[in-house]
């Protein structure tokens, strides 16, 4: 009979105790696993099915030597920490069991997530209610396509914006009034991985107290990648910064109204802020400073007296407007944006020579969670029958947030020559605006603003606007 003597048994036992852990531990549970993954990218579709410990901590390859006394102490501390964590887990489990019983929140959330992602996640199974204490189920499915698609047909998402105002003014013929701003219904829907739809529907009352309804944006967007995003439909022209940053909802604006350079066409604005056509945007590959481009072609703005400015259905000429822009958002200075754009159109009026319109716009913006600094300058160039007319304009706006309070200051200027062929009635306007925005809640804010506007050959306007704007 073979027998092992006591001394040998002791040696064998020691060897087992010393070496067995490193041998018996599954490969996935050691720290080296995470390290291996960091060094070697996993192949697509790789489904790691290893199970074991749920906590594998990546550790850099520069490691220390053998265990010493300090390491033993460290291990003791780690064990204590693990005990603490286990205690926390037990506590959370108990709490989860109390809350999950009536609502089933955790499971429902997982199921909802999986359903919305269009993924058959094993974790979303109703039977899996372990709260993540067990091993994460093996990754069996990788949906490269349509992972954002909901099950079934596209789903419409609606966000509403609105504002209620009071205005007191010294303008002749205008009484102090409460008034409703625009009711803005913002619709989005994802159609596929690359296609989406966006629309902005505006319902507003005019000076005659009658409501009008208009589609201000309607875009079918194709996003091939971040370098190529093509939109077709009615869009907000990318002239400068303000028009594509704030659109119609006054909720996002710091001020109660837009700078008059960027006032909408229906309210006497001089810029072609809406257009119908195609818009192409994206990053410029390999370009420094986070350079992006925009190229747009559309019907442009109507110039005939009495015509609606935005040519949604019929263009008054065969020439198309185009807008080319480039802007930078350098990664090194988060919140900084600067850019330049050139817009061109031909404006035809019956009985008078065609006006060649060029609009050059530049902006320098700095926005972070506290500070807002907006600076934009625009120059119109109107060429008609050998004569050239320039319209300069700019605004600068500064605000700083103190908790929920944001005081602001704005100065704006636009000067249309008295003989300009298109906008002579606008004249010169310039002046400061001061005010404060107070966030009543995440989705409701109150603004109080005072405007002083000097006008050429007319008395200055003083206006006080109180506004409640909200999103819902």
């Amino acid at each position: 009979m073979l027998s092992i003597n006591r001394k040998t048994f002791r040696i064998v036992l020691s060897c087992l105790v010393f070496f067995a852990p490193s041998y018996l531990l599954p490969e996935t549970t050691v720290h080296g696993q995470a390290k291996t993954e960091l060094a070697q990218p996993a192949k697509p579709g790789d489904s790691s099915t290893q199970t074991g410990s749920t906590a594998a901590i990546p550790v850099p390859s520069t490691t220390t030597g053998p265990t010493d006394d300090s390491d033993k102490e460290t291990i003791r501390q780690m064990l204590r920490r693990i005990e603490d964590l286990e205690g926390r887990i037990r506590e959370l489990e108990a709490r989860q069991a109390q809350t999950a019983a009536p609502t089933g929140t955790g499971t429902a959330t997982a199921q909802q997530n999986a359903a919305t992602e269009g993924i058959d996640s094993p974790a979303a199974s109703p039977t899996n209610t372990n709260g993540g204490q067990g091993a994460i189920p093996p990754v069996a499915i990788t949906h490269d396509d349509h992972q954002d698609l909901p099950n079934g047909p596209p789903r419409l998402q609606i966000q509403g914006f609105a504002d209620v105002n009071f205005r007191a003014t010294n303008e002749k013929g205008r009484n102090n009034s409460f008034f409703l701003g625009q009711l803005d219904l913002f619709l989005t829907s994802r159609l596929s991985e690359k296609f989406s739809v966006l629309s902005e529907l505006i319902l507003e009352a005019g000076e005659d107290n009658a409501f009008t309804f208009e589609i201000h944006r309607l875009l079918l967007k194709y996003s091939r990648n971040e370098y190529f995003n093509l939109s077709a439909g009615r869009y907000h022209t990318s002239i400068g910064y303000y028009n594509t940053a704030f659109h119609h909802g006054s909720f996002f604006q710091t001020t109660a109204n837009r700078p008059f350079l960027f006032a909408f066409e229906s309210r006497g604005g001089i810029l072609p802020l809406h257009n119908v056509g195609l818009s192409l945007t994206g990053r410029i590959p390999s370009a420094p400073l986070g350079l992006r481009y925009v190229a747009e072609i559309g019907n442009g703005r109507a110039a005939r007296p009495g015509a609606r400015p935005v040519q949604t259905v019929v263009d008054e000429n065969n020439g198309k407007s185009f807008n080319l822009g480039i802007f930078a958002r350098p990664r090194q200075v988060p919140g900084l944006q600067t850019g330049f754009s050139v817009y061109h159109d031909r404006l035809t009026r019956p009985g008078v020579p065609t006006v060649d319109q060029t609009i050059m716009a530049g902006h320098l913006i700095y926005v972070n969670d506290r500070t807002e600094l907006l600076n934009e300058a625009i120059v119109f160039r109107h060429a008609q029958a050998g004569r050239i007319f320039y319209i300069p304009g700019f605004y600068t706006q500064f605000s700083r947030r103190f908790d929920n309070l944001r005081p602001f200051f704005r100065y704006q200027y636009v000067n249309v020559p008295g003989d300009d062929p298109i906008y002579r009635a606008v004249g010169r306007r310039n002046g400061p605006s001061v005010g404060v925005r107070y966030d009543l809640s995440d989705f409701v804010n109150f603004k109080a603003q005072y405007d002083h506007t000097g006008r050429r050959r007319l008395s200055a306007l003083d206006e006080l606007i109180l506004q409640l704007s909200f999103t819902f």
């Binding site: 009979m1 064998v12 906590a55 949906h143 954002d148 966006l198 909802g249």
Partner: protein
């Protein structure tokens, strides 16, 4: 008989001593790792940025992370669409990401930011909000373009940890640390 037993005993001892040599490389490496780094990760509350295992990205700077989490970038270099996963409002992991990566002190700033980004055609989908670490890991493990974050001591092998400014959780100058 006695000699045979002795020879067998010696053979047995030799076999056991050879175990570390024959054991998998990771297991050997495991024995050499210092627990102090692990403890530092635990004590300091390092956050690990995790991506899907098929994602080839190895390292991102804090600036790049900011661009990804704020949807200023829409696609990975592989043309895969980026899907950002965030923890639910109020969780310390989310607060750390908002503060350290996004430069935002208030959760409502992040909400408003994405509402506005959606409004200005910058994004179509808002970040996915997940209410637990297992759900976060599950999401990132299942969605090929996903990027998310968990406490470094909660990472599991179904996802991959990427370096931030060439550092990993546990490294001395690692910046993503829970408050």
């Amino acid at each position: 008989m006695f000699r045979a037993n002795r020879i067998l005993n010696i053979l047995l001892i030799l076999m056991l001593m050879s175990v570390p040599i024959l054991a998998p490389a990771n297991a050997v490496e495991e024995r050499l790792l210092s627990p102090s780094l692990l403890l530092r990760t635990l004590q300091r509350g390092d956050l690990a940025i995790i991506v899907h295992k098929s994602n080839p990205v190895q390292n991102l700077s804090m600036g790049e992370l900011r661009e990804y989490f704020l949807a200023e970038r829409s696609h990975w270099s592989t043309q895969q669409k980026i899907r950002v996963a965030m923890r639910e409002p109020g969780s310390p992991e989310r607060e750390a990401v908002l503060r350290l990566i996004c430069g935002m002190k208030r959760d409502q700033d992040f909400t408003t930011y994405f509402l506005r980004a959606k409004f200005s055609e910058q994004v179509v989908d808002e970040p996915r909000s997940l209410d637990s670490t297992p759900n976060m890991i599950r999401f990132v493990a299942n969605v090929s373009g996903a990027i998310g974050y968990v406490r470094a001591d909660e990472v599991d092998p179904s996802v991959r940890v990427i370096r931030v400014d060439n550092l990993l959780p546990g490294d001395p100058d690692y910046k993503l640390v829970l408050p």
